[in-house]
């Protein structure tokens, strides 16, 4: 297993490199210009000099290699230095956002916590809701609980988050006034009252994401449970005189979790990208928000870096899903 994981990690490196090149080239070919949003009164020569100052004078491959060097060498060493205080001794210019002229890495570090809190909690609650619903729905197939659960998950799955988000704001902020409609990132939790406020302001974006994720995962869970409930080994477990709880929650659930865990693992990075919309609606200035704003103003270093991080996450969690599969299912052998 370890051998397999290392081999897969080694293969992941060229995959990620190719992805980074494609991302870089596509953005380079995309229409739009970093100086386009500047006032029209700026003369063309000055405009050209600004472009050269941003490093756009070099051939595209040179710019790619420079960016890659900063991305995989300079930025990580800064991260390590900021986090632990150790100086590895790698110096050099960092990736700068064209829009703000500050290092992209710092912006991402600032934006990460709120994304992780909101999106992470949304995903976590989604899983916690989805698994029991899926299990009960499958066990009591066609009961009123199953019918209701299937209906809600169909609605939750087919209605996009930008719609549920707005509906939530309308009901709970505008009409009922229970929760604030905007997420205040500067708010700090110091005492009980500020903690309550934090819970209130995070409740709606988390609920919207949790509903969406739970709809998806509970359908997988239900289908997987149904697949397994009719298996012969379930009859064997009952014939052994085991308690129904043991039969369902040990024998069936353990088998049903195999595909579901894989889906959950693969879904983690897509949640980062999917949260772009939810972050916009609730004004959470997280990573998704940073990406959207960077795209608006053609801030290519920012877009490249965030997209590249998403790509790494996707490759990484695919690998994690495969490894989990091998751990959960003894029939899978990777060597």
């Amino acid at each position: 297993m370890l051998n397999y994981t290392l081999r897969r990690l080694a293969f992941a490196v060229p995959t990620v490199l190719v992805i980074s090149l494609i991302v870089f080239l596509m953005l380079d070919m995309a229409p739009g210009d970093p100086t386009a949003s500047l006032p029209l009164t700026i003369p063309p020569e000055v405009r050209e000099q600004m472009r050269l100052a941003l490093g756009l004078g070099d051939p595209v491959l040179v710019r790619y290699v420079k960016w890659l060097h900063m991305m995989v060498v300079v930025e990580p060493s800064h991260m390590i230095a900021n986090a632990t205080g150790w100086n590895i001794g790698v110096e050099g210019p960092r990736i700068l956002s064209w829009q703000t002229r500050s290092p992209v890495g710092d912006i991402i570090v600032q934006r990460m916590p709120q994304t992780l809190w909101v999106v992470g909690l949304g995903y976590l609650f989604g899983i916690l809701i989805a698994v029991p619903i899926g299990v009960i729905s499958a066990y009591r197939q066609y009961s009123w609980f199953d019918q209701a659960g299937t209906f809600v998950s169909m609605v939750g799955f087919s209605v996009p988050t930008f719609f549920t988000g707005v509906v939530f704001i309308l009901i709970f902020s505008v009409w009922l006034g229970w929760f604030p409609s905007m997420y205040d990132t500067t708010h700090q939790v110091r005492d009980w009252d500020s903690f309550v406020f934090q819970v209130r302001q995070i409740a709606m974006p988390v609920a919207v994401l949790a509903l969406f994720n739970a709809s998806q995962i509970s359908r997988f869970m239900r289908a997987s449970m149904l697949d397994n409930l009719n298996q012969d080994y379930v009859r064997t477990a009952r014939a052994k005189g085991l308690r129904e709880k043991t039969v369902v929650l040990v024998h069936v659930l353990r088998n049903s979790m195999i595909p579901v865990v894989t889906v959950i693992a693969i879904g983690i990075p897509t949640v980062f990208t999917g949260a772009i919309i939810t972050e916009q609606i609730f004004r959470v200035n997280g990573l998704g928000d940073a990406l959207i704003r960077a795209i608006y103003v053609s801030d290519w270093p920012m877009v490249q870096t965030i997209t590249f991080i998403f790509a790494i996450l996707i490759v990484l969690f695919n690998l994690i899903a495969d490894v989990l599969y091998g751990i959960l299912d003894p029939r899978i052998r990777y060597d």
Partner: protein, 333 residues
């Protein structure tokens, strides 16, 4: 084989109906049989004849709904299995009645070790702790002829061959020293040499442990080889029952006769075509007020369509048949 002693299992007038949207299916209809200690009862019949459903009805393994075990008694050690609550029945399953199923490839849970699966009933019914259960599980694996049992306990089902898995299933079924072992076509999914090994193993285990066995099969050769008595089922009913040698030597029911004729003969000249029983098994939707076999029966006459025959004794002691036609005289009985 033991005879005359009180039966361990006594089933009377068992009736199971599947209540479906398309109407009731009378899957088991007034089935009665008994099983004496140490005896091996063979149950034969084609697919859909109600062999498995009968046995599953006894211990509540059928999903309800749609199944409804609506009539009859099944006495095991003075208790009626059909009147027991689900909790009491659960205590009987695996402890007093062991089950071996048809397909060993799918009957074991793929994600748990074989040891875990053998230890489960031991810990549930016998109150053993982990170490005791592990010791007993290793003994059981050795008993069913699996070499190096301590090490194999840690293996998963996919690391065993089909025959070995069926041995594991037998070990699970025998874990708590059951009074009755129900084997539902345990050799059907195995190739012939492995079948022979499993048959030998069961014969040997029966001689050693003395439990009574119900062996469901559609292989008449297997019945001839190991059973003491045989019960032939058709359309959810017992059509003939008796000691193996009596039934095979003097089959009284047209279905049994036809069934025995379908077996190719080794020592006689080869026939151009294998013999078959013409027609289809009955649909069990209509209420069983007529003989289920009449549509395929060469001897059927008007009474067969009016009245479902009751079992009546013929010839040797303990031999009975459910047929209006008398095979000896060749005339209605």
């Amino acid at each position: 084989m033991p005879d005359g002693s009180a039966p361990v299992l006594d089933v009377r007038d068992l009736k199971t109906v599947f209540r479906t949207r398309a109407g009731d299916i009378h899957a088991v209809n007034a089935v009665s049989f008994d099983l004496r200690p140490g005896e091996l009862l063979g149950v034969v019949g084609e697919s859909g004849s109600g062999k498995s459903v009968t046995m599953m009805s006894l211990i509540g393994l059928l999903p309800t709904p749609p199944a409804d075990v609506c009539d009859g008694t099944a006495m095991l050690a003075g208790q009626d299995l059909l009147r027991m609550g689900p909790e009491a029945l659960r205590a009987v399953r695996g402890r007093d009645i062991g089950f071996v199923f048809q397909d060993p490839m799918t009957s074991l849970n793929p994600v748990f070790t074989v040891g875990f699966q053998i230890m489960e009933p031991l810990r549930r019914h016998m109150g053993m702790d982990k170490a005791q259960a592990r010791r007993r599980a290793a003994e059981l694996l050795a008993l069913v002829g699996i070499p190096d049992p301590e090490r194999r306990l840690k293996d998963f089902p996919h690391q065993f061959s089909g025959g070995m898995r069926q041995r594991v299933m037998i070990a699970i079924a025998l874990a708590c020293d059951p009074k009755v072992l129900i084997a539902d076509e345990p050799t059907t999914a195995l190739d012939v040499t492995i079948q022979a090994q499993i048959l030998e193993l069961v014969k040997e285990l029966r001689a050693r442990l003395g439990m009574a066995i119900i062996w469901i099969t559609h292989d008449l050769g297997v019945i001839a080889g190991i059973a003491d008595r045989v019960m032939v089922m058709y359309g959810g009913q017992v059509v003939e029952h008796g000691r193996v040698r009596d039934v095979f030597a003097d089959p009284a029911h047209p279905y049994t006769r036809a069934l025995l004729q379908t077996v190719p003969k080794l020592r006689e000249p080869r026939e151009a075509q294998l013999r078959v029983i013409e027609g289809q098994p009955p649909l069990l939707g209509a209420h069983p007020a007529a003989c289920p076999f009449r549509a395929r029966c060469g001897q059927a006459f008007d009474r067969c369509a009016r009245e479902n025959p009751a079992r009546r004794p013929v010839g040797a002691q303990g031999h009975d048949v459910a047929c209006h036609w008398d095979h000896r005289s060749g005339a209605p009985a």
